[in-house]
Amino acid sequence: MTKACADQELLLGGLVDGELDAANTAMTEAHVLRCEGCREELERLHAVRSLIRGEGVRHQAPQALRSRISALPELNLKPANQNRVAGWLGPGLAGALAASLAIAVLPNGSQSVVEQQLVSSHVRSLQPGHLTDVQTTNQHIVKPWFNGRIDFAPPVPELASVGYPLAGGRLDSIDGKTVAAIVYHRRLHVVNLYVWPGDKGAARSFQKDGFAIEEWSRGGLRYSAVSDIPVADLKNFQKQFIAAAG
């Protein structure tokens, strides 16, 4: 076995992790082409990485711990708050004020947190190495990849012919739920399509922090597409996706 160059060790790791900038990526890739030792080292790194990322290596929080934490009294102030709001406002104050407060504090609060999480997740996914866990343009790889990782099966149509090539998929977490994120490209832009079980809520279209978001429900699944492409473009994506997903 040929030895890798000592000065390339960190760069090879950065390359595998997608953490190098364009110049270093090009430089390291060029070096790997010339140097057999580093080529072997790169293969080893990829091999180790895929072993570590294999199924069953990451631990999941036991259900008992999950329930114990959800039941912690500190984290369960919600019912108490509702009572307090009702208790304070119910008898004395105008019903209209109570209603507007309740709307501002309760459902909107949670909805805007979800919206915020969608945008944060989208932004995070744009950082190097974060976009996809399974990176492929082949829908027949992305769809089975989700099997066993989530307990629902999102449709994964290929939309390259209408200008939205499939880039891959990953798991993400929105509002405490594990959701499927299917990644499409639109020219140089990224569309993250989050899918989770639930058909609550009508279709809606809005913008947050400069990102366009399209939400809709279909077949027991809730969809939320987030991107920095123009609203009309994202609406078209939604139309094409629904048409192709059936």
Binding site: L10, V48, V57, R58, E74, L75, L77, Q127
Partner: protein, 196 residues
């Protein structure tokens, strides 16, 4: 740009906490489990960390709630570990990386292993788990944060409080140890087989 996800001032504190922080319970447990190398201690650490995080939620200034929670998990784990350093030194010694001890660890397959084809996969996962547990800190946490939790170098630097260059060299060393444990095994076996 990264400073999204600020808890709104005066919003429903507990509700926001549940929504921002609790989704990362699996990650917190996974990190604690690899830091503590014990399922019960890991649960204690996570519960402790969630409580501490809740009490400090006012000071959360946005950014990644996950990295923030991991930082607290890591602090709780190190407190828990320093309380039992005596027994710990017996388990984690840098020199305990020798192949013998890892092999011994690996020779305790799960009694309830699935007899079907998933057994091979489960065995492989067990092997990888014990190999990760066998590498010393701080290399172990770097590998766990990067390869299992998918944190960026910058986030790992934030969580572990070291510069990115240090993160890179820890990752390189940690992965080299894992490669030594996990990869040559298969190759050696092949070589011996073909040599016979």
């Amino acid at each position: 740009m990264a400073a999204t996800g600020n808890p709104a001032p005066g919003g429903d504190h507990a509700l926001q906490f549940r929504q921002l922080v609790l989704p990362h319970l699996d990650g917190a447990y996974n990190l604690a489990r690899y830091l503590m190398r014990d399922p019960t201690l890991a649960e204690d650490v996570v519960q402790d960390a969630v409580l501490r995080a809740y009490r400090a939620f006012d000071q959360f200034r946005g950014g990644s709630p996950r990295a923030w929670l991991f930082m607290i998990v890591r602090n709780c784990a190190s407190t828990a570990l320093s309380g039992q350093r005596g027994s710990l030194a017996l388990v984690v010694h840098e020199s305990s990386l020798d192949e013998e001890s890892v092999r011994q660890l690996n020779e305790h397959p799960d009694g309830a292993a699935n007899p079907e084809d998933s057994a091979i996969q489960a065995d492989e996962a067990l092997l990888v788990r014990s190999a990760i547990e066998a590498i010393p800190e701080p290399f172990r946490e770097a590998v766990v944060l990067r390869d299992l939790e998918d944190l960026s170098y910058a986030e790992i630097a934030e969580v572990t409080g070291v510069p990115i260059g240090t993160v890179m060299s820890r990752l390189a060393r940690g992965r080299a140890m894992l490669a030594k444990e996990l990869l040559p095994a298969a190759r050696h076996a092949e070589q011996t087989r073909s040599a016979k």
